[in-house]
């Protein structure tokens, strides 16, 4: 899922300082599961903003609402009137949701309430870790199901580098070395010979480097 982190209250308060009536709009999918911007977090942020503005003697017209997904028109369109009734929106969706809202409501200021951080999973309660970088050319079949693009600090295709020590990455001693994980996993699968194959220079054109990515599916078009 997409993992995000709430922005500090001060930063959000500053963004909406000049607006009277503000909607805090939660998103009920990824950011709800990672406890950054779902219904509960949107309510909490709205109430924090109200209190902070009250102490400063400013307008406390902060309302909140949550939709299932801010990344699909079918969920965004039904709140047209609600959005029209406020001066600005703080979206606690990921960057996709914020942009979806901005695109649909052209004349309304939409502010990000979270920092969209990575594609990952909660490995244990309260601990979220990156797993994928959406490079557009998956090689997990070759690396024992462990991604070196996302999980190696240098995205090495032919690791581990000389900084792998006791299974950890030199960049952060708490981070497992991705190539040690790949090595261990391939050993368990009886596929260590894969480590001997040179992976060619990666084609990054399918990644962000190639420009905005787009998929056309004729079979799904109306």
């Amino acid at each position: 899922m997409i993992i995000a982190q709430r922005k500090p209250l001060e930063e959000i308060k500053e963004m909406v300082a000049s607006y009277e009536k503000v909607l805090v709009l939660g998103c009920g999918t990824c950011v709800a599961v990672c406890f950054a911007g779902g219904e509960k977090e949107a309510k909490l942020l709205a109430s924090e903003l109200r209190m902070a503005r009250q102490m400063e003697g400013k307008s406390t017209q902060i309302i909140d609402h949550t939709i299932q997904r801010q990344c699909e028109w079918e969920f965004i369109d039904p709140i047209k009137e609600l959005v029209a009734s406020v001066d600005a929106v703080v979206s606690t969706a990921c960057g996709i949701g914020v942009q979806g809202m901005a695109e649909r409501f052209e004349d309304k200021p939409i502010f990000p309430g979270v920092n969209t951080t990575f594609l990952g999973m909660p490995v244990q309660p309260g601990e979220f870790v990156e797993r994928c970088q959406a490079c557009g050319d998956c090689i997990l079949d070759l690396t024992g199901g462990v991604c070196p693009v996302a999980r190696c600090a240098k995205s090495l295709m032919n690791g581990p580098c000389g900084g792998s020590q006791n299974g950890k990455c030199e960049v952060n001693p708490e981070t497992p070395c991705a190539w040690q994980l790949i090595y261990d996993r391939l050993a368990k699968l009886g596929q260590l010979e894969r480590m001997m194959e040179i992976m060619p220079a990666k084609n990054w054109s399918t990644s962000r480097d190639g420009g905005l990515r787009k998929i056309i599916r004729e079979d799904l078009k109306l």
Binding site: K154, N158, P160, K202
Partner: protein
């Protein structure tokens, strides 16, 4: 073109000729300054000139901004010293690297050391974006392809003079997983590396085991291995390397020797303590050189005394490796 003992020369650099003639080679390392002062290079070059056969020019080592390795390599050529230009994948993509290689060859550089590069979080611009378009192994492949197939990385032909480098890489026998390290060298050999320099060696038995395993894989005839050595400057430096430098293995024995080196010298006499440490550090380094020299497959040593280049002549002398061989131009 062939060398002194008939081995074919592909580039003809001094380093290649000495290795192929069977000399026990000594390379050094010069860390460019964090400024634009040419005289720093001239001063450091003075220490290294007659003590080593070729000199590595680091490429913004530990991700700290320094004078660029190509410019410094050219200065060394002008000073009559053979450079080994280092090239990392951290700061340049394949377009920039190939462009630099064309330029470096045109300026007379003939040895290239291909590295992944230290992560920028260790340097003075931790907020920088890193590149890592290639890694050390795909870099080696690219340099080899440019030379032997006269092709750019994309496959397009290089029309006219191709850049021809004697291709080097790095090995770290002390990193993990230890069992994989000889295989990683085998991958570099397969990619086209012709010589490698190792991480600093203090744990000689472990390095000996690594070399044995490389021998078992049949690598010793395929690549020239230079053992990396360097002087410890103080007790604090020994402790720091032992505990805080990833991929470094410093046995307790050397820490004890550095501690004993200043026994009886009062704490206040900082100068005497420093000199005692430096003497012991140089002595240990020379001893390690003599030990690694006896290991089958070690073709030379690479002395890393960054920011202490002045120690190199003494180390080489104490190790019995002077004078350095001369080659006819």
């Amino acid at each position: 073109m062939s060398g002194d003992n008939g081995k074919e020369l592909v580039v003809g650099s001094k380093l290649e000729r000495l290795l192929k003639a069977g000399h026990f080679v000594v390379t050094g390392e010069l860390g460019p300054p964090q400024n634009a002062d040419r005289s720093v290079i001239e001063k450091k070059a003075g220490y290294l000139r007659d003590a080593v056969d070729a000199v590595n020019i680091t490429d913004n080592q530990t991700a700290v901004v320094r004078m660029c390795s190509m410019a410094v390599a050219k200065m060394l050529i002008d000073l009559g010293i053979e450079p080994i230009m280092q090239m990392t994948c951290r700061d340049r993509n394949r377009i920039a690297i190939q462009s630099d290689l064309l330029g470096a060859y045109a300026l007379g550089v003939r040895n290239l050391l291909c590295l992944t590069g230290d992560h920028q979080s260790f340097g003075n611009h931790p907020q920088a974006k890193n590149v890592h378009d290639l890694d050390s192994i795909t870099l080696i492949q690219m340099v080899r392809q440019m030379r032997d197939a006269k092709k750019f990385q994309c496959g397009e032909e290089i029309k006219g003079q191709e850049p021809r480098f004697f291709i080097g890489g790095a090995i770290n026998p002390f990193a993990d997983p230890f069992d994989f390290r000889p295989f990683r060298l085998a991958k570099k050999v397969k990619a086209g590396v012709e010589f490698v320099q190792s991480q600093l060696i203090f744990n000689v038995p472990k390095f000996r085991e690594y070399m044995k395993r490389c021998g078992d894989l049949g690598l010793l005839d395929k690549v020239y291995i230079l053992a990396g050595v360097g002087p410890i400057k103080s007790l604090a430096a020994a402790r720091y390397m032992a505990t805080s430098v990833p991929g470094m293995d410093v046995p307790q024995e050397y820490i004890d020797r550095m501690a004993n080196a200043v026994k009886g010298i009062p704490q206040e006499d900082k100068k005497a303590r420093r000199e005692a440490w430096e003497r012991e550090g140089i002595k240990i380094c020379a001893e390690i050189i003599q030990q690694v020299k006896e290991i089958p497959g070690v073709a030379g040593v690479h002395i890393m005394a960054i920011e202490w280049e002045s120690a190199v002549p003494e180390i080489v002398k104490e190790a019995g490796l002077l004078p350095r061989p001369k080659l006819e131009a």
